[in-house]
Every structure is written in C-alpha cells, then in structure tokens.
C-alpha cells in the first residue's frame, strides 16, 4: 500500500445514481470517480441541476425513496458502504460520516435546546453519560468560538443568529471526530462578512481534526479560499478535477474556464469588460446529447466532440483530470474569456442628476413577539432608514451595498413609493416626488420601475409572460393598443428571449429567463429609473453573468439610471458607477465605484471587501473580519453606529461622538473619526496578486 492509498478516506468508483420516475429512470449522477484523503478539503462546484447534492446524499446512502445507487462502489476508509445493511449504516452516520447542511436555521430542531442537540451525538456515538455529554457539548461550542457556551447551549434555534447556528452545526458535526465530513453549501445562506468568519473557522478546525471533507458550493471564490482539491460537476458528471492551482490557473476544461469568466472582477467594471457567458442551459439527465455533454454550450466544440463522450482522464499525468478532448487548446487559450472594451472617459460632473433623495428616514413601529410581550404598551421603533442621502445621475448606476438588515431594501422601497418615507425629500428629474405610490401621477409611476429578486413571486403564474410584459404598456398608456403586441416582441428581443416565448407561462421558463421577462416588463414603461433589488442573487453564476451583461447593454442603449441593491460586492462593482455603503440605516462611504474599492476605505467597507471570496488562489486579501451580527435597529449604538464591531476602533470618541464626513476626492467621502491619512497608511488594496507589490 502506498502512503497515498493509506490516507485515502473516501474512495468512490464509477458511481451512478438513478431516480425512478413515472416516465423513465433518470440517471442523475453518472460515472463519478473521486478520492478524498485524510485532512483534505475537496471542493465540489457546479451550477444548480448539476447533481452535487444527489451525489452527496448518495455517498452516505441517504437518498430519497425513489433514488438508488445503480452502479459503482463507495469505500469509506476500507468499509464498503454499499454492502452495509441499513442497521449498520446508522452506526456509520454521525460516528464516521457527518454532514453540515445549507440552511442552519432549518437544520436545527426548533424545540430542543442547541446544546442538547450536540450532546445527543456524544451520548449515542461516544457512549458518554448525561454529564459527560453536556461537558463535551460545551467544549465543542467553545471550539467553534461561540462566546459564553453555557448560555448558548441552553438556547433554542430561533434565539440565535444564522452565523451562530452554522457554528453550532459545525460543532455538532465534529463532536465525534468523524473520518469524513460533507458540507453542503454551508455559507450560502449567510452574509458575506459572516461567511468569511465561518470559512476561516472551518479551515482552521479542519486542519486540526484532519477530517476528509467534501465541500459543496456554487461559489468558486469560496473554493479558492478553503479547498485543496476541486471537482467541477456538470449535468451529473465530473468535467475537471485537480488541485486548486491546476483548476484555477492551468485550467483544462472549457466549462470551468467559462464559469471562471462569469464571475465579475473587483478591479474592472461594465465599461472595461463584458462578462463571459455560457449560452444555453444544463441538459436534464433524460435529454443528454450523444457526445460530450457540454458540447452544445461549448465555444470550442467541433464535429468530433459530438461523436463520442469523453471520460475523465489524467491527461498530463499529474492528477489533473479533464473530460475534454481539446484540453490542450483550452490550456493555450486561457485568455479567451475576457473581452476588454475601450473605456470612454466621461466627466461625471457634467451628467445631470436624475434621482435626488435627501435625508430619507423610515421608521417602523413593531410589537415585540412572545407571549410575555403581547402587552407591551409602547411599540418599539425600528429606524430602518435613518437619514440617507443618495443621488443617481442620468444613465448611471448607483450601487447600494451592506449586510442584510442594513436598510438598503427599505430605502429602495421608499424611493419606489411602496413604503412612505417618514421624512426627507425625494426629487426625480428636478420635480418633487410624493412619498406614496398612491399620490404619484401616472407619468411619474412610468418613470420608476422595479425588478425584484424573485421573479416567481413577481410574475403572475396564470398569465402568459407576454401578457405580463404588455400590461404596463396598456396601463401606463404610452403605447397605442394596436402596437402593444409589436412592442412586446421588441422588448423580448431586447432581453434576448425568443419571440415565441410570449405565449409561455412562467413555470415553463428557467429562473434566468423569468428574470429577463421581469426586466422586459420593467423596460416596457420606458422608465428613467430602474430599481434593481438583488435581481441576480438567486441565480447561477453563468446566468448572473448574462443578466449583468444585459443590464449594462440596456442601460447603454436606453440611457436608464439604475439603483442597484445587492449584498454581492463583486456584482455591485461590475455594474455600478457609484457605490454607497450602508450600515444600520445610514451611509458610511459613498463615491465612484473605483474609489470606494481602493484605499482609503471606511473600516466597514474594508471589512466587506476583505470578505469577498475571489476565485483566484494567487490573490492575497487582507484578513479583516467582523464579529457578531448587525445590532438591532431598535437599539442603535451611540456615537459611531459601527463601533461595536469596528476592527479599527480608536477609542472612546467612537462610542460617544458621531463621526464627521471627510472628503477624499470631490466624489468620494467617508464618515469616520480616523483621519484619512491614517486610514490610507494602514489599509491595503482589496486584492493583491501574490508576489506583486501593491501599487
């Protein structure tokens, strides 16, 4: 036995997973072979529908009733998992294999204290007594760096934040010191700042425990940050597998290359490059092409690619596997993905203002929940938006970023008129804008349109999508009834949807297509201002990229202004000309996108930028982490609101006095007590390539 084989924990050979359906069996996972060694973190990436989760559930033999493993073998440190009877399997689960699930708020039992949920692992698998198990659970809570484990252990899931719950799941999974750990999108439901802290913790803990880990994610940046090896999955098969360096830097498969090109870069924006896109969509397992399954979407596919399906092979004899015939060409053409544009220099001051929102405030009255509080006579006041001033110039994009709960969506809803602002002034194109949508004229309504995060919730499921797009045309009366149909077709063309889609119902469209319909509908009114509230967050990277390109293109051709709300900083960087950074209902830094993304930054911006998972293993990022979660907008901290979490807090002044605005340039201001020169001296660029000096 070679040392390499000795340390192999998970050994999967030619695995097939099949779901029985009414029509024909669906081979959802095909021919997957992988090895994961002790202490290795294996990243499994792929878009939705690629079979990642099915594979993970097959590896532990926990498939839904209609799913089964039809071919292949799984060996866990020498144990043939497929040969184990069901009763033995439960002794493997929890003891030798554990799992961390995607949404920690759902994966923790709501009616059992969290400490007990760790302790039961210790009792069942480690044979501990009640007292020993309780001690073990506190130990584990401490391991995952939760403050005050005693108190946390006694609490229930609804009393803890998402980040804390995910730590608890990690603690649970490591209680028995398992040989193999599966993490299924463990940070997807979290804010980018929390994600960064959890990823650091996971990496440190896994080094200590030497567990073999399968880390499933759709986020290439996360893979680059914490994994050792990576497998790229597509439509149920592995396309490429290798070390992080190999896959990210000496890539041998056009699909991986495409995925990498889809991710916006934090040093360029829409006027520098178009994002790479992958045309088409993942084929379902019952409609696979004859030859290479990626060929129909591949930019370099040729006749021969359609003839025979290539299998994963170690083409260079260096444990870098690819399932592409033309791997050599991919290796040569790493640069094909970026189309650089000629940048047009525009004097920003020349561009007139479209939206001028001054000192907007929005307060909500809420009653606290819980039986004991039903009689609290005085409702709490939530200051969701507290004095925000935002200006959007014509034809430009203002990006608003911040953690969830910072008030960015409430602000957008105030501008849209869905919520009536409590105070402040709104001007659109020089004219005063009433707070409520009910008081706005038809002409004004037409000028502001919205695209929401979830197109399923914003498109009527009973209406053909063409009708949804035609409605605003008829309602807002800017098009003759006889021309509506023609105009709808034009709009479909503008958003790159086939004209015959107008008759389809929303459920017949993919997520990306539905969002295109939503965009077409918003453009139907020929608006001046588009409010985009996380319009791409729930979509796959390749779809995100094509939508971002579409939005940039439409902005250019229509001269529309965008108010772009997102927690995805890379997307904001790509689409925005201007960026406002929001925390607890207030803006802390505002300026041109380029300025905001380079020092000096507000310490909060600095932390957000440092948390961005960048899909490049050779990039060095400063490790600045925010601990804890955003304080409640009911009890806003005094002085600088950020002082409770600020990594750069200078002293008492932060706790008592509101910080002043400091102008870095005419278009870039920071609200902080620390003098700009000091900020500049201590801060590094967002990302520096290893070996290069920061400029």
């Amino acid at each position: 036995m070679t040392p390499d084989e000795k340390s192999t924990i998970l050994d999967v050979n030619n695995l097939w997973v099949t779901y029985a359906t009414e029509n024909s069996p669906l081979h959802t996972v095909r021919n997957v072979t992988m090895k994961i060694a002790r202490g290795e973190i294996y990243g499994l990436v792929g878009e939705s529908g690629s079979g990642k989760t099915t594979l993970a559930r097959a590896l532990v033999r926990y498939l839904p009733r209609n799913g089964s493993i039809t071919k292949g073998s799984i060996s866990l440190a020498g144990t043939d998992l497929l040969a184990l009877p069901q009763s033995e399997l439960r002794k493997v689960w929890g003891a030798r294999v554990t799992m961390v699930h995607q949404d920690p708020a759902k994966a923790i039992n709501p009616s059992i204290p969290v400490g007990e949920q760790i302790a039961e692992m210790a009792r069942v698998h480690l044979g501990m007594s009640q007292a020993q198990a309780k001690k073990k659970s506190l130990e584990m809570l401490e391991k995952v760096q939760l403050p005050d484990p005693e108190s946390v252990a006694g609490r229930y899931a609804h009393q803890l934040s998402g980040g804390m719950l995910q730590r608890i799941l990690i603690a649970t999974a490591l209680t028995t010191n398992p040989q193999f750990l599966i993490m299924d999108e463990p940070t997807t439901a979290l804010d980018v700042t929390t994600e960064a802290v959890i990823l650091d913790l996971v990496r440190d803990l896994l080094r200590e425990y030497e567990t073999a880990v399968l880390y499933i994610t759709h986020n290439l940046g996360v893979v680059a940050r914490i994994c050792d090896r990576v497998g790229v999955m597509y439509a149920g098969e592995l396309m490429e597998e290798g070390s992080i360096q190999q896959v990210f830097k000496q890539n041998l498969h056009p699909y991986t290359l495409g995925l990498l090109g889809c991710v916006p870069r934090i040093d360029m924006n829409k006027s520098d490059i178009d994002l790479h896109t992958i045309p088409g969509h993942i084929p379902r397992p019952n409609e696979l092409p004859q030859g290479c399954i990626f060929a129909p979407r591949c930019a370099i596919a040729e006749e021969a690619c359609n003839a025979e399906r290539p299998s994963l092979a170690d083409v260079e004899n260096n444990r870098h596997m690819t399932a592409c015939r033309r791997w050599a060409d991919v290796a040569k053409n790493m640069h094909i993905i970026t189309k650089e544009k000629v940048k047009e220099e525009v004097d920003m001051e020349e561009i007139p203002l479209l939206l001028d929102a001054r000192n907007i405030e929005k307060q909500f009255k809420v009653r606290r929940s819980g039986l004991s509080n039903l009689f609290a006579w005085k409702p709490d006041i939530v200051r969701a938006v507290d004095n925000m001033t935002v200006r959007v110039r014509k034809g430009a994009t203002m990006g608003i970023v911040g953690e969830s709960g910072c008030g960015k969506t409430t602000f957008a809803r105030c501008v849209a008129g869905f919520e009536s602002a409590t105070s402040g002034d709104l001007f659109l194109d020089g004219e005063s804008l009433p707070y409520s949508i009910a008081e706005r004229s038809k002409a004004t309504l037409r000028k502001i349109q919205l695209v929401f995060q979830n197109p399923d919730a914003s498109l009527n499921p009973q209406h053909p999508v063409g009708q949804s797009v035609g409605r605003p045309l008829a309602l807002l009366g800017n098009v003759l009834p006889s021309e509506i149909e023609k105009r709808v077709r034009e709009l479909f063309e503008a958003v790159n949807l086939p004209a015959d889609y107008v008759h389809r119902l929303p459920h017949e469209l993919s997520g990306g297509e539905k969002q295109r319909v939503a965009i077409a509908r918003a453009f139907a009114a020929d608006p001046q201002l588009m409010i985009l509230d996380e319009p791409i967050s729930s979509l796959d990277v390749s779809v995100q990229a094509s939508l971002m390109n579409l939005l940039a293109e439409l902005q250019k051709s229509h001269g529309t202004s965008y108010l772009f709300i997102s927690h995805d900083l890379a997307a904001v960087r790509h689409l925005s000309d201007w960026i406002a950074v929001v925390y607890l209902g207030r803006i802390w830094e505002i300026g041109s996108a380029e300025d905001v993304f380079s020092p000096p930054y507000h310490p909060y911006t600095e932390a957000l930028l440092s948390a961005i998972p960048i899909p490049d293993p050779n990039i060095h990022q400063e490790r600045i982490r925010l601990h804890g979660s955003v304080p409640s907008a009911v009890n806003i901290p005094a002085g600088c609101r950020f002082h409770t979490r600020c990594p750069r807090k200078i002293g008492a002044i932060c706790e008592t006095e509101s910080p002043p605005w400091q102008n870095v340039t005419r278009f870039h201001s920071i609200c902080c007590h620390i003098p700009l020169e000091e900020l500049r001296a201590m801060q590094a660029p967002v990302a520096v390539e290893n070996g290069k000096e920061p400029q």
Binding site: Y62, W93, G94, I108, N109, P110, V124, S369, L371, S372
Partner: protein, 315 residues
C-alpha cells in the same frame, strides 16, 4: 403570560355576553308560547294569561333579558318551566355525566388518532396509510346516529358484549357507569378519530421532510429516537390546537349520541328541553356549552405556548 391569560379571560366574558344576547333572542323566537305549552292545548286563555304573569313573560323583552342575565351570573339559573325543578342542580348533574362520557371518548380517540396519524405519515402513500386514511374518512363522514346504531347492532345485539341502552340513573358513580359509557364513547370517538389522525398525519409528514429531521437521521441516532425526540416533539404541537378545536365537534357528537343511547347527559337534556320549550333550561345549557368551548380553546392556546419554545421565549 399572566396578562395574556387575563386578557383572554376578558375576551371569554365578552364572548359569553354576546352569546347570551344571541341565545336569549333565539329562545324568544322559538315558536309557541311557554305558558300554552305548559298548560296544554285545552287551557283557558285566563289560565294562560295568569301563568304568563306568574312567569314574568308579560314584561318587555329587554327587562326579561337583564333580569335573566343578572340572576344567571349570580348562580340563580332559574326554575324549569316544565318540571318546576331548579335548573342548576339538574344541569350540573347532567353535565357531570356528559363530562364522564367526553373524558372517556377523548382518552380513546386522541391517543389512537395520534397513533394512527403517525403510522400513516411514516407509511406515506403506502397501503397502511391508504387504509388508515380511507377508514378514518369513512367514519368521519358517517353521522353518529348511524355509527351508533351499527355499533349497537354488532356489539350489543349480535355479540351481546356491551349494553345497548345506556339510560342509567343520572347520579350513578363512574365505576358503575363505565360499562354503559363504552359504546357511546366509541360512537363519539369514531367521528373525531379521523380528524385527529388526518391532522397528525399531515403535520408529521411536514416534519419528516424537514431539514432538521434529515440532520437528525444523519447524526446516526436510532430511528425511534429520531422519531420521538426530533419528529413528534414538533409534529404533535399543532395537534394540541386540533384537539381543542375538535371540542366543538365533540359537543355536537354528544348531543346526538346521548339521544341514540338514552344516556342522561347534557345533550339529551338539551333535546328534551327543546321539545318541551323549556326556555330556562335551554338557555342555561347553551351558555354552559359556550363557556366550555371558550375555556378549552384558551387551555389549548396556553398549552401550545408552553410547549412551543418560539412562543414561550419570544423571538
């Protein structure tokens, strides 16, 4: 918590007040004249008029209402117009009988309904589930006078296992009354059983599909432990409310069942009183039913709050 309970009790008082208005109005609308009913068809108009004055029926309705309400609240529920006996001891004695029957029924159908519901959920869409769902649906659809008669026919007459007639002496102690309670209790249970089973089934299926159940499975806990500690603890929470809401059905079921078996409970007394136009008794029983329904719902809500940490501890 205390304030919550006080507020709910206040709401119950309000409900009862409203109910009293409705009950009083409805009893006034019942056709026929009480005095006439008491004295019979051939009474002289003078005798009827005298009796009306004696009973206070010639006063304005509003005065009659407030007079009745004040006395009722003070515990003076009046004298039966028909039997000339005091209403309160009579009603309370019958209530006691009904509570015995209801208690035996609840002890039958709640645990059995939960058990069947959980089994059906675990065997979702398989034979056992379809059998349970089908049978419980059938019984829920059959009215008590049908199931009651079938049960009498089979268990009492054909196999002679249990007494067919449950018309016991009203004051019979529980021990002696028990054999007479079984058949009526089964009859009442069959209707509610399916309801509990179906509700338990659907909430259990939801919990079985939840992420935390999967997580508990993946922890390698023994299956029974996953079920008892992780699944049932959550899936049975809504059952508490379901049982309380079912009290309404239960009361309806009791009225019919008691008549079928001649059991001297409050339901049979109610029907008897309606037949005799005994307004005073009808009013007392109706108010009592409203009170029982309201209080059982309050108890369920408090219990739910105590069992559910999300409500107990607030968010």
């Amino acid at each position: 918590m205390i304030t919550y309970i006080l507020r709910r009790l206040g709401m119950i008082l309000l409900t009862m007040l409203l109910a009293s208005v409705i009950i009083f109005s409805v009893t006034q609308l019942l056709p026929g004249d009480v005095a006439q009913v008491i004295l019979g068809q051939f009474a002289t108009p003078e005798a009827v008029a005298n009796l009306r004055t004696e009973l206070g029926l010639d006063r304005p309705i509003v005065v009659q209402y407030f007079d009745w309400l004040t006395r009722f609240a003070q515990g003076d529920w009046g004298t039966s117009m028909v039997s000339r006996l005091e209403v309160r001891p009579l009603v309370m004695q019958r209530l006691n009988n009904s509570l015995m029957l209801a208690g035996v029924s609840i002890l039958m159908y709640v645990p059995l309904g939960i058990l069947l519901g959980v089994i059906a959920a675990l065997k979702e869409d398989r034979a056992a589930d379809q059998l349970i769902s089908g049978i419980s649906m059938a019984f829920a659809g059959l009215p008590e006078f049908v199931t009651g008669l079938i049960l009498i026919g089979v268990l009492a007459i054909a196999f002679d296992l249990l007494p067919a007639n449950s018309s016991i002496e009203p004051g019979t102690p529980f021990k002696e009354a028990f054999p007479f309670l079984i058949l009526p209790a089964i009859t009442v249970s069959l209707t509610s059983l399916g309801y509990i089973a179906r509700m338990t089934r659907s909430s259990t299926i939801d919990v079985l599909r939840s992420d935390y159940t999967r997580a508990a499975d993946m922890k390698g806990l023994p299956r029974w432990q996953v079920l008892t500690r992780h699944v049932l603890r959550n899936s049975l929470l809504p059952t508490v409310t379901v049982v309380a809401l079912g009290i309404g059905w239960l009361i309806g079921g009791l009225i019919v069942t008691e008549s079928v078996f001649g059991y001297p409970g409050i339901g049979r007394l109610l029907i008897y009183s309606i037949q005799r136009r005994d307004l005073i008794t009808i009013q007392a029983i109706s108010m009592l039913i409203v009170a029982i329904y309201s209080v059982s719902n309050l108890v369920a809500d408090i219990l739910y709050g105590i069992l559910n940490p999300r409500i107990r501890l607030g968010g």
